[in-house]
């Protein structure tokens, strides 16, 4: 299979004991020391392999336990009980839930898709991306068998804009401005998270990962010195203010206001591409339109880390992306601009969902830290020592972990596209008709049900 269709992953062991959901409470007192103890019969050999990591005080009986509760139910003196580990429950926040964090760890470690049995355990729907379902094809659409080797699914996307229509000169050849595009093999770009302390080691590892994935790493212009020279073409320096553009880069990110002419900015820089960053605030669709009209062909819309508008936590980026996309479509200039979104991209499913809503690609930021075993505990912001000693993470390991995570996400993107019968990621952009939205579907299905009248009982 050609390299562009595949992300090569290889296991990258955890450096620290992961915090897992399970908390076993196994009392010795009163133990009858059964000849065939439920502990000995543990399918996962939890008790047999028991070990304590004294630095973190993490007991392996929690890490290996898979919650079958057989020991709880079998101990003749009922000395074994279960609980959720409080450290697990405390990880992250409402958006970056412990479940999401531990799944990212798993993917970064193994490069594999999380697979489990027994159906979906989660809530019916939720805010933002959790209120949409992607479509699938039943029998009447073309197959995909990409991941199994027959037809390939392309996840490549372009950065940059094209004209709405081609212009031809009198010679019959295409005239007009040259169409310049940057091709990346998957609709995912990496990005240094803001407001976290990132060591040069990590920047270096991320840069290598960006190179290996063939995508870009957006990184502060000051931090980028940490990256190896060979990775330079895969870096996207974030230029705040009038910082000079470093040599050897292909694209820079700017925070210049949209009012300023894109060309005037470019003239002072070597990079051929400029990505304009705009905050996802109320009215974003107008500002994107303005920027596009001003000539910016790549626009990065930054939402909050929890996937909401920066100025209104009640609005989710899902709606913001749809509004921007529709605004551009209505203005007839959708193809002249590439929309990259960031903020709250925490799970593989957020990539296709962002695309379906209208983005061309996404930036992954916090998830890159979580891939390195970050627990999002925020201790670094409080000047407390990092429980996973992030600053000591070796760059090759960092690169491997990130490639694993993105590789797993890539495979999951293929699953979604395969199910939809879409063979090109570019075709997925804005395909809202191939998605189902909770708000519409729920209302149209249920609003005309019966009514509860006086004296009625419900059950």
């Amino acid at each position: 299979m050609p390299a562009k269709y595949l992300v090569h992953t290889s296991p990258a062991a955890n450096r620290f004991e992961p915090i897992t959901k399970s908390g076993i409470i196994a009392w010795e007192e009163g133990c009858l020391k059964c000849a065939v103890c439920v502990k000995k019969r543990c399918v996962y050999k939890v008790y047999e392999k028991r070990g304590l990591n004294p630095r973190q005080m993490i007991d392996s009986i929690d890490n290996l336990c898979m919650n079958c509760l057989r020991c709880v139910q079998g101990c003749p003196r009922e000395l074994i009980h279960k609980s959720i580990s409080p450290e697990y429950a405390a990880m992250g926040d409402d958006y970056w839930s412990p479940d999401i964090i531990s799944k990212i760890w798993y993917q970064a470690q193994t490069g594999k898709i999380p697979v489990s049995g027994a159906g979906y355990p989660g809530p019916f729907s939720g805010p933002g991306f959790d209120s949409m379902w992607t479509d699938m094809s039943e029998i009447v659409r073309p197959t995909r068998d990409g991941i199994h080797g027959r037809e390939y699914i392309s996840t490549a996307v372009d950065l940059g804009g094209t004209e709405g229509a081609l212009c031809f000169g009198e010679d019959g050849l295409v005239s007009g401005p040259e169409i310049r595009l940057l091709d990346i093999p998957l609709p995912i770009l990496l990005r240094m998270p803001v407001s976290r302390k990132i060591s040069p080691n990590i920047i270096s590892g991320w840069a290598v990962a960006a190179k290996r994935l063939g995508t870009f790493l957006a990184v502060g212009a000051e931090e980028m010195v940490a990256a190896p020279e060979s990775c330079r073409p895969f870096l996207m320096p974030i230029l705040d203010g009038e910082v000079a553009c470093p040599e050897g880069v292909r694209v820079v990110e700017s925070t210049f206001s949209a009012e300023k002419d894109a060309n005037s900015f470019k003239s002072g820089n070597d990079a051929r591409f400029v990505c304009l960053r705009l905050p996802m605030n109320t009215g974003i669709e107008e500002r994107v339109l303005a920027a596009a009209r001003a000539g910016f062909s790549i626009i990065h819309i930054e939402a909050s880390p929890n996937g909401s508008f920066l100025d209104d936590p009640g609005k989710t980026m899902k709606d913001g992306i749809r509004a921007v996309h529709l605004g551009l479509v209505e203005a007839g200039i959708r193809d002249s601009v590439t929309i990259i979104v960031s903020g709250g991209i925490a799970m593989a499913e957020h990539v296709p969902k962002s695309l379906i809503c209208g983005a061309d690609a996404v930036f992954v930021d916090l998830a890159l830290l979580v891939a390195l075993e970050c627990r999002l505990c925020g201790r670094c912001d409080m000047d407390l020592p990092c429980p996973v000693e992030m600053d000591k993470a070796p760059p090759p390991w960092v690169a491997k972990r990130v490639v694993n995570l993105i590789g797993a996400w890539h495979n999951q993107l293929l699953e979604i596209m395969g199910a939809m019968g879409i063979r090109d990621a570019r075709r997925m952009r804005g395909e809202a008709g191939r998605a189902m939205f909770f708000e519409e579907l729920d209302k149209s299905t249920f609003q005309d049900l019966g009514r509860r009248e006086e004296g009625c009982e419900i059950e």
Partner: protein, 222 residues
């Protein structure tokens, strides 16, 4: 099962003092059941010994390991390739275990960490009591299932002695009078007449006197 108790740390420290690399070796059988030498106790002892060594600025290596049984060759040989790295093994096995390990690893110093106590019963949570002296000639039938040799302070086979009072032994009122138990049990199961005769003197040759005892079962041998 065989019961044992850990020796005082002070005594253990004295016996291991000449050695630099020590393997603290637990046993997963009887002594684990009486919470004297199982995996957990072994880990605790090793940790305490390491701390003690560090406090006294002794440059020693103390590691721990637990095998399923220290009294069966097949389990002991699992130590091959492990034990050689140590100057001494501090064994939390019973006396039999300590000797078995010493026999198989004849060039290694084996130090007992436990005092082996008796053949006992787990009476209650954290309570073990002696039930059997291993006399080699069981007479429990005649005594209603209570052994006077193990449980009477004076090993009377024709008791009780004159010190029995309200069912307690004269030696310690904590101890139930074995003979009271025998009489009560036989009374309940209708076997009091068994006590009518004078039991002759015990044939102790089945327990001792001919060197260490052994059991040979040809049908079990390979």
């Amino acid at each position: 099962m065989i019961t044992a108790e850990q020796k005082p740390i002070k005594e253990i420290r004295e016996t291991i003092a000449p050695y630099r690399k020590i393997l603290v070796l637990g046993c997963g059988s009887c002594v684990a059941e009486c919470a004297a030498g199982g995996e957990k106790e072994t880990a605790m002892l090793a940790s305490a010994l390491r701390m003690a060594a560090r406090m006294n600025k002794e440059d020693v290596l103390i590691e721990d390991k637990t095998i399923d049984r220290q009294c069966v060759r097949d389990f002991i040989v699992q130590l091959e390739g492990v034990i050689e790295a140590y100057d001494a093994v501090l064994s939390l096995g019973c006396g039999a275990g300590v000797q078995a390990v010493a026999e198989i690893f004849s060039d290694t110093t084996i130090i007992p960490a436990l005092n082996t106590e008796f053949l006992g019963q787990t009476k209650d949570q954290g309570l073990w009591t002696e039930n059997c002296v291993g006399c080699g000639d069981c007479m429990l039938y005649y005594f209603g299932g209570v052994c006077p040799l193990a449980r009477c302070s004076k090993q009377l086979m024709n008791g009780p002695c004159g010190g029995s009072r309200e069912g307690r032994c004269e030696v310690d009122p904590e101890i139930p009078c074995a003979w009271q138990l025998i009489i009560d049990r036989l009374g309940r199961i209708g076997g009091l007449e068994r006590l009518g005769k004078v039991y002759p003197a015990k044939d102790w040759s089945k327990k001792q006197g001919r060197g260490p005892r052994k059991i040979v079962r040809e049908d079990q041998q390979r």
